[in-house]
Symmetry: C2
Subunit: 131 residues, 2 copies
Amino acid sequence: MNGIHLMSDFYGCEGDRALLLDRATLENYCVNACRDAGLTPLGAHFHQFTYDTGEQAGVTGTVVLAESHLAIHTWPESGDVTIDVYVCNYSRDNSGRARAIMAELASRFKPAHQREHKVMRGEVNHIKAVA
Amino acid sequence: MNGIHLMSDFYGCEGDRALLLDRATLENYCVNACRDAGLTPLGAHFHQFTYDTGEQAGVTGTVVLAESHLAIHTWPESGDVTIDVYVCNYSRDNSGRARAIMAELASRFKPAHQREHKVMRGEVNHIKAVA
């Protein structure tokens, strides 16, 4: 279960609007970004939010990976996006692949501002050492 | 997008083995735990890992919520589990609901040890204030 969990909050994205708005566009893009980074998508569920008028209002979804998961939520009205990429290192160190996905997403969403968090999951040996 | 993101890493779980091993059991339990806590499941994708013998080897999955997501990964060989619950506060404060789900899961998985992380997502105003 040890592995890196990257979280990015993107603000004021000025990239492709379809990625913020359209379920199929975002789902295909995220699944391919995981695959292109060398990870293994096992399935995905993405949901289209709509206004009462039927207009697209944002997307929320997850890609289940053999290595753990990607989760993404968009707020088109403000151009904001939250992204999680957690990759466990069960058979190899996937940290570089997680960073590559985040860099790819930032290059397409083009956030004006960005906030990053990193959590190392697992590492119970470390916890015991410092407890 | 502001909201609480709780992460728990459970070690040496001594609770219901089916939750660690069986896809349908874990998926139904997680979807119901979200609903019982007052959140809104929109869909889920859970994957059964198996050994070459066909024996169950663990489960990985996500529940997509109107309020964001739950993600869970199990390692039955060591009784370890990672769980994420991220709930945005778009229309109300969902922090108590996220904590209720984590407490419910701990009560059923019964970890011998547990590690917690909490990240407040969003809060760009706060970031600007301290930058």
